[in-house]
Symmetry: C2
Subunit: 201 residues, 2 copies
């Protein structure tokens, strides 16, 4: 088989299609997004990538090594990146509206963000390791919402309650999107956000 050349830590003269650890992570994210964590199987991913398991166990120590990588990747790509996208907007209201649009329609490396989010939530229910990561991510997200709502003049407890409410509705959208799209229309969530923002006066 063909190989790639490398010098030091950098890849040069990439004249082959040898897989990287990242290729497996992306394939894992796609599989997770489509079929849930139970669809993230070493041999299925290998088939999908047209290689054998030997490749997988070269890049990863075992399956749970891949699963950890999925969680880390998700944290980076699906949280920090989102907030950074809307940060330049001038007002809290504009930022929250933009965030809603981003979250509803964004895609990352070909993976629909909303679908992936639902898959991560469902995964967290079944796996304590995933649950810890998801809780940490959600704490940061809700913290961000609270800070924005505080900027709009809400006191701490109101901001907290409203933030959680908005986020719960978003979780509902993520869950429903994949089996009942009519229920999870974008407009419904937009309306919820508007209602919350109006309640924030």
């Amino acid at each position: 088989m063909s190989r790639r050349s490398l010098t030091g830590e950098r890849y040069l003269n990439r004249n082959t299609q040898d897989l990287t650890r990242d290729d497996w992570v992306l394939a894992g994210l796609a599989a997770l997004s489509e079929g849930g964590i139970d669809a993230v199987r070493v041999e299925r991913l290998a088939k999908r990538l047209k290689v054998s398991k030997g490749s997988f166990y070269w890049h990863f120590s075992d399956r749970s090594d891949l699963l950890s990588a999925l969680l880390d990747r998700w944290e980076r790509d699906f949280t920090d990146q989102l907030i950074a996208t809307v940060a330049p907007l001038p007002t809290p209201r504009a930022r929250l509206h933009a965030l809603a649009e981003e979250v509803l329609n964004a895609s990352n490396n070909g993976v629909d963000v909303a679908h992936a989010e639902g898959a991560f939530s469902a995964w967290a229910v079944l796996d304590p390791v995933a649950a810890a990561k998801v809780r940490a991510v959600e704490a940061r997200r809700i913290g961000y919402l609270v800070s924005e709502l505080s900027l709009m003049g809400l006191d701490a407890t109101d901001a907290e309650l409203l933030s959680k409410g908005i986020y719960l509705a978003l979780l509902g959208v993520f869950a429903a999107r994949r089996y009942n799209p009519v229920l999870a229309e974008d407009d419904v969530f937009r309306r919820i956000v508007d209602l919350a923002l109006d309640a924030a006066k």
Copy 2:
């Protein structure tokens, strides 16, 4: 092993502990609620019930036969029953408030309703048959919400949007409850309902 006596269609002199189809369904619901649809496995349930697979395949043709029974059971116990419970209350507002309390804290045959609901939603994502049933159930639930909100004076489109919003938040509660209970406190959902009802004036 000991058997039971029967006369016609009715069981009499039940001096044994032979299992019924219903026992398997309840065990399946418990397993689904705890570990998702992937935890509903014939041999695991048999172990749980301290019998062999032979019993299962006596009561069911195959695994999907059990899964269908789970869906039917859920529809009966977790929908019709809930609405019937709150029906006697005088005003829409009282009925909706009671419904929220019911949904958040009810248990059915030892199965926490909120946990089970989340499991059914997650199942619907992965299985078209489950998705069809869940969509049908949700259509009825939302239809009920719409009718109550209409009684409160909302026009059709507003009632529809608010109903969907409330239900999406509820789905979020169901999803989050099992891995992030702090996020899914009862008070948060109560506040959402109040907000929606206030918006309905």
